[in-house]
Amino acid sequence: MTRIYKHRLFWPVVALAALLLACTLKRPDILGISVLDGHLFGAPIDILRNSAPLLLVSLGMTLVIATRGIDLSVGATVAIAGAVALTFIAGSHDPGSLGTALGAVVVALGLCLVLGGFNGFLVSGLGIQPIIATLILMTAGRGVAMLITGGQITTVNSAPFAALASGFLLGLPVAALIAYGVFIVIALLVRRTALGMLLEAVGINPDASRLAGVKSKTLVFTVYTLCGALAGLAGLIFASNTMAADANNAGLFIELDAILAVVIGGTSLAGGKFNLGGTLVGVLIITTLNLTVTVLGISPLVTPMFKAIVVIAVTLMMSPRLRGMLAGLRERRRYQEVNA
C-alpha cells in the first residue's frame, strides 16, 4: 500500500480519478458509452478525441525536455501546419478529393519537419539556448502562418481532410487512433531501442555523454525535428476539426499546456529521466478538466481559477520538498510521542 502511495504517478492518477468522479456525481450517466451508427459515443470517447492534439504535442515536448531542452514554438507550428494544409486544399482544382487531402497532409508535415529541424539546428548546431532558439519560431511562426493564409481565415470543404478530426474508424475517432497510435509507436521506439537511455544520458550529463561517444548533437537535432513533426500532426487535427485555418488562434498556448502535461507526468524540466506514461496522464487531466468545467457548470469567469487550483494541487502533491516536509511532520509527531 505504501508503495502505491509513493509511486510518482499516484497523485496525478488520483487527480484524474477525482475529476471524473466529480463529473459522475453531477451526472451519473456521464461516463457511459453508447453505440450509434456503429460508432462509439460518450464523454470518455470525447476525452480521447479531444486529447489527441495535446497528446501529440506533449509527446514531442517530453523528449525535448528530456534532453534539457524546451520547445516554445509548437503552438506556432500547429498554426503553420493548419494554414499550409488548408491553403493547399483551397488552391487545388479538386478540393474534395482524397489525393488533395493527402497532398495537403504531406506538404504540411514536410514543412513542420523542416521547422523542427531549424530549431534542432539552432540548439545543437549553433548551441543557442533552447528557450531562446525556439522563441524565434514561436514569435515568427504565427507571422509565417498569416503570410500563408494572406491574413484571412481560410475555410475549405474537403470530406477526406475533415475525416481526420471527425471521422471514425472501427468505431473509434480517427484523431484518437492517430494520436494514441503514434504514442504507442514512440513509447515502444524509445524503450525498445536505446534511444530513451541515450536521450536521458544526454539530458543528465551532456559532457559525460559526449566523452562516452554518444552522438548528442544528432540526437538533440532528431528530437527537435520529431517534436516539430508531431506539432504539425496536431495542427492538422486542429485544422480538420474547424476546417478553418486561423493563424492567430490555432494552437494558442498549447506549448504551455504541453509543458504542464510533461511536468504533471513527473518529467523534470531539468532534463534526464522522462516518463511518457506520465505525460499521457498529464494530458488526460488537462483534457478532462475542460469536461469537468462544463459538466459542473462552472462559470467561464472562474474557469481559469478552477483549472489553476487543480494544477497547483497536483504539482504540490508531487513536490518532493512538500512530501519531505509532510514526512518530517509525521516523524516530528513520532518524536514528540517518544519524548513525551
Partner: protein, 526 residues
Amino acid sequence: MIAPTPHQRQNAATDQLATSARPVVEMTGISVEFPGVKALNSVDFRLFPGEVHALMGENGAGKSTLIKALTGVNQISAGTIVVDGKQTLFGGPADARERGISTVYQEVNLCGNLTVAENIMLGNEPRRFGGLDWKAMRAQARVHLERMGLDIDPASSLDSHSLAVQQLVAISRAMVVDAKVLILDEPTSSLDADEVEQLFRVMRRLREEGVGILFVSHFLDQIYAISDRITVLRNGQLVQERMTADLPQRELVSLMIAGTSDAEVGVATERRGKAMRTEDSAPLLQAVGLGRKGAVEPFDLDLYPGEVIGLAGLLGSGRTELARLLYGADKSDSGQLRAAGSDLKLRTPRQALAQKIAYTSEDRKGEGVVGELTVAENIILGLQAARGWMRPLPKTKAKQIVEAYMKALGVRPANPDALLKNLSGGNQQKVLLARWLATAPKLLLLDEPTRGIDIGAKTEIMNLVSELADQGMAVVFISAELEEVLRLSDRIAVMRDHKKVAEIPTTRDVDVPQLIEVIANGGESK
C-alpha cells in the same frame, strides 16, 4: 561498557571517561536505506562526554550516513538513538540542534559577506525593542570567540580571515547553543599544519569542558594526535570500537580495508619498466608534433601495446590537455596522430572510440558519472553509444557484461539497478572503468583515476591497470601522486608549462626526488 583499564597516555579526558559511565549519545542497531543501497546496517555507536571519538572508514563505509542519522538529516529505518539518556527520534536537523548536537561540515557554510559576530549569532541574535541589539551581539560573539582562543574583531567581515579562522568561527557558532555534542566532519581537509594545531587546541579545550566530539578525518596522523577512541565502519557495518592508545596504525588500516591482511595494505603492483619492448615491436599510436594552441605545445609520443606511460607534472602543466588530444576530446591544431603507419584524424571522442581508444576524465562528476542512470546503464553507455541507438544491446548480453565487470572490479553494492549517484566515489570510478573496459579498448587514457578515492580502491585500480597492460593494452596513466606514477609506469613523460620536457624510463634508480627535480628544472638536469 568500557573496560576501565588505565591507559599509557596520561590524559585528562581519558581519566574522565573511566568515571563518566553514561554516554551522551548512544546509537544502537542503526540502519539507513536508500533506494537500492543499504547505507548502514545495524550499526552501534556511542560517544562519551569529554572525549574525541574518531569515526573511521573508507569512502562509502557509511561515515557520513551515520553522521546524517545523528543530525537528523537522514531518517533511520531501524535502531534507536539515545541522547543524554532519553530516546530520541529526529524529524530534521532542527530537532538534533535542539537536543544539543551541533555539526560543522567540511566546507565552511557561513556567509562570507557578513561580520564574524553576525555569523556566530545568526539565529540567536539578541534583540531589543523589536530590532537587533548590535552591541550585545558583538559582546556575546566576543565571549564565544574567546572560548575558542580567538582574538579577532567580531565586527570584521568573515571574508577577511583565513580558512582556519573561518573554521573556528563555524565551531564558535556551533557552540553558541551550548552543544553537548560537536560533530566535526573533515574539518582539517583544507587547513595547513599550524592551522590544524590551532583547531586541535580548541578541540582539547572543549573536551576538557566535557563536550563529546565526533571527529572525521582522512589523515591518520591527526587521528592519533587528537582522538581518544576510534570506531571503524566498513561497508555500512560496524567493525570495531577501540581505544586509540590500544590500536596500532597498521591494524587500524587493515580494519578499514576488507579482505586484506596486515601485510597487504596499500601495496599496489610495482611495474617499473616491466614491459619488455623488443626492437621490432610497432607502436600502437604515435603523436608527431601534436599540439593545440594555449593547451599543449607540439609533442612527440609513441605508445606501445602492453606499456604503461605515466604523465607526471604539476597541476595545470598540460597533462590532461595532452590526454584529451589523444582522445579527440579537443581538436589538435598542429601535428598528427599515426596508427599503423597511416595518419589518423580524431575530431570527436566517437572517432577515438571507433579506433579503440578510451579516456576517463579527471572530472569524474562533470564528465563521467551519469548520476540518475543505474550502474548497469552507466556501464553499457559507451558500448551502446558505439552501436548507435537503433541497435540496442541485447538484454541478456548487457546483463552478462554488467555482471562480469561489476564482479571483476568489485563494485559495491553489487546491485546493477542502484543509481550511480548513490555510490561512493571509489565505486563510481570503478563503474566508469567498467564502461570503458566494456568497449575493449586497445589504448586506455586514465586521467587521475585514483583521485579522491580510498586506499583500498586505489590499490585495486592500480593492480587492474597493471594487469591490463600485461594483457597487451597500452595505457596512459595520469596522477598527481608521483609515487603512484613511478610505481605503475614503464616510462614517464614529464610535463611542465604545457610542454613535454622529458621522457624517462622508470628503472630501479629513479626515485620521487629525482622526478621532482626533472619537473622543477624542466628536464635540463638529466
